[in-house]
Symmetry: C2
Subunit: 166 residues, 2 copies
């Protein structure tokens, strides 16, 4: 389909001719706009992540929370949410869901009874271990395949620099 440009209709008489339908649009300067390529690429990357992670039903945001809890056990909700750029009110439902799936627990802090100390459960640790293997073996590996490993690393460095310095 879409092979031969068969045009049975006579269009010779078209006056202020409308453009050749069927032809892909020219994105022009959009191709050089960093924000445009970044948004399109980001959607693809998250979509690929979700497909790879489908067996574990973890979103990128959930995975990032589990990673952070593993590396920083005993922190409170405000600290974790802030680190990830999540607003505290929006972090509540997210934690509810992770706690309902028994990946982590909230515990009243003994030193400050206002705050909840967060920790992974054994189930959370096990799930995170499986998730990491999927991400490394199927997700990041695919990105290295597309870009080349050196470029993938360079790309992450540039993105981190933008996030830090822009």
């Amino acid at each position: 389909m879409r092979g031969a440009p068969s045009k049975p209709k006579a269009e010779l008489m078209a006056v202020a001719a409308e453009p050749a339908a069927d032809t892909p649009l020219d994105i022009g300067e959009l191709a050089d706009l960093l924000g445009y390529s970044m948004k399109r690429a980001q959607l693809k990357v998250f979509d690929h992540f979700l497909r790879v992670m489908a067996p574990l039903h973890l979103t990128p945001a959930q995975f990032s929370v589990l990673l952070l809890l593993e590396r920083n056990p005993g922190r409170n909700q405000t600290e974790v949410a802030n680190t990830l750029g999540i607003l505290r009110p929006n972090f509540v439902a997210m934690l509810d869901s992770l706690e309902a799936r028994e990946f982590c627990v909230r515990k009243r802090s003994s030193s400050d009874r206002r705050s909840h100390v967060l920790m992974l459960t054994e189930k959370g640790k096990a799930t995170l271990a499986r998730a990491k293997k999927l991400v490394a073996g199927k997700h990041e590996a695919r990105l290295s395949e597309v870009l080349g490993e050196d470029n993938r690393v360079a790309l992450v460095q540039m993105l981190a620099k933008i996030a830090r310095e822009l």
Copy 2:
């Protein structure tokens, strides 16, 4: 603030000590996750775009539509929306807003009365010209300043490759 780590409270007796509050969390493996850096960077880039474009009140999505209409006059809503990855139903309100601001017009196609042919108005062209100057002079220029011009170009190429091939 946050200069000297003044710790008046005696914490020597803490048994299963909670982590040193006040210390930034360790993002660990998150720093190497492409999707994570890309999301954080993308938010920063769009935020910067919005600040630069504040005098014209144009979002990245609106700017991309105007660019596409300029380069591809006479296309219909489905074609433009598809090219930008916008769903047709969601494109309606967006066009309503751009048309209300007199940046573009919908015209019934003479060859297919179902479709609307889209074109920039003179006001739309003039606004787009101003927008392009802001983007080139203040937005992309800032990104080149942060990354270096060669790296900025290389970055766009890698992002485009991901959008195409992942």
